[in-house]
């Protein structure tokens, strides 16, 4: 039993989340079909407050769907904002393909649904088929797509994020009834308070709670769906990349705590650590376990309980509504995403960044899993129990069908991938002292280390520490070089190359590091001065783009090798997959060096890797 628990703990987060969600859906189905009305009765139990003349009641299902789900939508919005400001969506060139695919995946299934249900009056349910269940698909991908490149997950995340934005808009505009504008004043007041807190630099999440509740109540009374409160609030939460100043301060406080380990110092250290990360980031982290382990399963439990009898199944599979949903989700999503991606990859060659069409086809099949938001919209769209039941059966059938078909596609792909061998972890361009700035003696080194990184990234300090230790520990036995990752800031990369023209790449790298984050040309000049460069030549070299060819080559190589996280290290041409800290990397280098020395000793002791290659 404990072995099982340990195994579950080691599973990817996405997989456990999907498993819990799946379990909740199964329990709901069993519960609803136990006979009797216990399932329906339970979810219709009223819960609320009576305070004098003021009474406020919602039934349990609405507490889940309107209140708890507000947190889910806030969570989704936080993820969208994070991606827009710091992540994949920031790079328009990369994001455009999944964005177009997501839009197609919203429109085509809805059109198919309307076409199938034409003339039945069920066409109102078109919102059911527009959205993919992010939690389920991420979980499925983690389960069946383990051999797939990490870019596929990023593609899916971008797609899911755009898809969620569309779904949120549809819920807000198409499924809002009994609209009364007055309570929106409450919303405005609550949001203003949040903006005020943000302006005042308040970083403790707890202070945002009271105005958040006010916003929620405002939305609820206005008739606009109350979950949009989560969206509105999450849109306002501050987000920013980590500021080095905050990071340094946090580091200082932690050191102070080491020197004087008392409660005061611990508190200060904790606060400065929390402060170094934006509210958005912390809210996202805090919400993740609740959303994944509590809210989504609770929602499934409250909504997936469809009474399944021979009659209801027969009715459902004879109804255009059910088929509309199945066709919309399974056929519509697959066709829309595959075709849109294929067209976009023709229009913009290279925009897929190393992903191949069969992989994207598999992903688009999985995207037909439309569980959470589909059930949510079905609840909003249909009042009569028969239509609702048919819609729910359609959703469950489509979700299961999409999951099974997607799993089959990925099983075939994974088998093919295994036959091809794992080529992703090989360095495509060996260290070349004629083009790469090398630390150590490339001719005599027995082991090479190649880093793809960005000098202005938060991990640069690790690289720096690793490099110093490496030089101390291995001397000339290891040759080390740095290349620019595709995500490297272009200006900074070019400054490094201009320094390289004067043979001072490493000095420049250290100087840039102490300037990080580099946001202005002035900082580049200051770093150049500190690195001891001839400023006139430096300026001229930067202006004429000296070394831009190397930067472009590095970026293209990095993309070809699908390096998404930086820094990425290659030790003797093989991708290092361990933790990014100086000790771990140097330990891996030591292992590689020992192995090389052992081979050398058994063959010819005086041959270097370069000579052996000849």
């Amino acid at each position: 039993m404990s072995a099982l628990v340990a195994r579950v703990r080691r599973l990817p987060e996405a997989l456990t989340a999907a498993a819990v969600l799946f379990a909740a859906a199964i329990i709901a189905l069993i519960w609803a079909n136990l006979g009797g009305e216990s399932y329906t009765d339970f979810w219709h139990l009223p819960l609320g407050v009576d305070a004098g003349a003021f009474t406020f009641h919602l039934d349990l299902r609405h507490w889940v769907n309107d209140a708890a789900m507000a947190l889910f939508f806030a969570y989704v919005t936080l993820e969208v904002r994070r991606d827009i400001e710091l992540g994949e969506l920031r790079d328009w060139r990369r994001a455009i393909v999944p964005l177009v695919a997501a839009v197609a995946g919203l429109i085509v299934p809805a059109l198919l649904f309307v076409a199938v249900t034409w003339g039945t009056g069920a066409a109102d349910g078109w919102g059911i088929v527009i959205s993919t269940d992010t939690a389920f698909v991420l979980g499925m991908l983690a389960l069946v797509g383990r051999a797939m490149p990490p870019q596929l997950r990023m593609f899916l995340l971008t797609l899911a994020v755009a898809d969620d934005v569309g779904a949120l808009a549809v819920i807000a505009f198409a499924y809002t009834d009994d609209f009364t504008p007055a309570p929106l004043l409450l919303v405005a007041v609550g949001l203003a308070a949040i903006v005020g807190l943000r302006r005042a630099g308040v970083w403790r999440g707890a202070f945002y709670l009271a105005p958040a509740v006010v916003v929620w109540v405002g939305f609820l009374f206005s008739g606009v769906h109350a979950t949009l409160a989560g969206v509105a609030i999450a849109l306002l939460l501050p987000i920013a990349s980590i500021r080095p100043a905050d990071l340094r301060r946090a580091g200082d406080r932690v050191r102070a705590f080491q020197l004087a380990p008392n409660a005061d110092a611990a508190r200060t250290a904790e606060q400065s650590l929390a402060r170094a990360v934006s509210v958005n980031e912390r809210a996202y982290r805090t919400l993740t376990p609740y959303v994944m382990r509590v809210i989504l399963p609770l929602f499934a439990l409250a909504n997936a309980g469809v009474r399944i009898t021979a009659d209801s199944l027969q009715g459902a599979f004879a109804s255009q509504l059910t088929w509309g949903i199945i066709i919309g989700l399974v056929v519509g999503k697959t066709a829309a995403i595959t075709i849109a991606t294929a067209i976009m990859s023709r229009v913009r060659p290279g925009a897929l960044g190393g992903l191949r069409m069969p992989q994207l086809f598999g992903l688009s099949v999985l995207a037909g899993m439309g569980f959470t938001i589909s059930l949510f919209v079905a609840e909003l769209a249909f009042d009569d129990p028969e239509s609702l039941s048919r819609a729910q059966i359609g959703i469950l059938a489509a979700t299961v069908l999409a999951a099974v078909l997607g799993a089959a596609v990925f099983a075939i792909l994974s088998a093919a991938e295994r036959r091809r061998g794992d080529v992703r972890d090989r360095l495509v361009r060996p260290l070349d002292p004629r083009r790469d700035p090398v630390l150590g003696d490339a001719a005599r080194a027995r082991t090479t280390v190649v880093e793809y990184g960005d000098v202005s990234s938060a991990f640069a300090a690790t690289s720096e520490e690793m490099r110093r230790e490496m030089a101390q520990r291995f001397g000339v036995g290891v040759a080390y070089t740095f290349r620019h990752a595709a995500t490297a800031t272009p200006g900074v990369a070019l400054a490094g190359e201009a320094a390289s023209e004067q043979g001072r790449f490493w000095e420049m790298r250290d100087a840039l590091l102490s300037e990080a984050p580099v946001e202005s040309d002035r900082q580049l000049l200051r770093a150049a001065s500190r690195a001891g460069l001839n400023l006139r030549r430096f300026r001229a070299d930067v202006a004429r783009g000296a070394g831009s060819a190397r930067v472009a080559e590095d970026a293209a190589d990095a993309e070809a090798m699908l390096l998404s996280d930086t820094p990425a290290f290659f030790i003797d041409g093989v991708r290092y997959r361990g933790p990014i800290d100086a000790d771990a990397i140097n330990a891996a280098v030591a292992v590689a060096l020992t192995a090389t020395l052992a081979t050398c000793a058994s063959s010819s002791p005086e041959l270097t890797p370069a000579e052996r290659a000849r």
Binding site: L525, R526, A528, S529, G532, N534, L535, R536
Partner: protein
């Protein structure tokens, strides 16, 4: 345009180390000779004071900078060109001096002298080489003035390191003269000698004796003005200024 009273009218001079003892004298002389002057030193307050004394607002620009920082020097260049359009006279006077018996010398003092006197001068000369060459190309006189050692074999007990650095500057000036002469930039090395306190009194104030020195900042400034005002084809290459009643050693 130029007259006997203002032989340097139209010239743009940069004085690095303007607030020092010699720098003040040279700055005044240059302003009085009609030149526009960029005063450079580390201390902004002292620069302000000097600018007030000189009282020629339209021809004086002050820039606070540390010559050991190449970017600071580069900023001086940019500010000078921005304000006056060109630079054709650069005087590098920034320097520190500490003395003691060699075995009692403080290595950090040596480092400071090498850093300010030599490296700072290298930054200054390199950074202003381009504007000086530009001025020469446009047919203007272009002058780089350095302060060097009186002679290579000068016997200055207790100032071994300072003298070594000064000799290096002299040598640098000679080489630069060969390098830039053909392009029309004149490099001058001036070597003033000041009586040093004869006593072996401890202390780091090497400047104690110079208030009574016959070689004054004004006399050095006169030579700078003379060198700069000579026709472009001739270079007053080196000048040694000694007290007339100098004791033979």
């Amino acid at each position: 345009m130029t007259s006997a009273a203002t032989p340097l009218a139209g010239r743009v001079a940069v004085v690095l180390g303007a607030t020092g003892w010699i720098g003040r004298g040279i700055s005044r002389r240059l302003v009085d000779s009609g030149a526009s002057v960029v005063l450079v030193a580390r201390d902004r307050d002292r620069l302000d004071g000097l600018a007030r004394e000189l009282d020629a607002e339209e021809r004086v620009l002050i820039v606070a900078a540390d010559v050991t920082q190449s970017l600071d020097v580069d900023d001086v260049r940019a500010a000078s060109l921005d304000r006056f359009g060109h630079v054709d006279l650069v005087t590098v006077l920034s320097g520190v001096i500490t003395g003691s018996a060699f075995e009692g010398g403080i290595p950090a003092d040596w480092a400071e002298m090498i850093d300010v006197n030599l490296r700072g001068l290298l930054h200054s000369a390199q950074t202003f080489a381009e504007p000086l060459l530009d001025s020469a190309r446009q047919g203007r006189a272009a002058d780089l003035v350095l302060l060097g050692a009186v002679s290579e074999d000068a016997h200055e007990p207790r100032f071994a390191v300072f003298n070594a650095v000064s000799a290096a500057i002299t040598q640098l000036g000679r080489t630069l003269r060969d390098e830039y002469g053909p392009s029309g930039v004149r490099v001058h090395v001036l070597a003033p000698e000041f009586p040093h306190p004869a006593t072996e009194a401890p202390g780091r104030d090497a400047r104690a004796g110079r208030q009574q020195s016959p070689v004054t900042p004004e006399s050095i400034a006169a030579v700078v003005a003379l060198a700069a005002a000579l026709p472009a084809g001739v270079n007053l290459a080196e000048a040694v200024l000694l007290p007339t009643a100098r004791r033979q050693r």
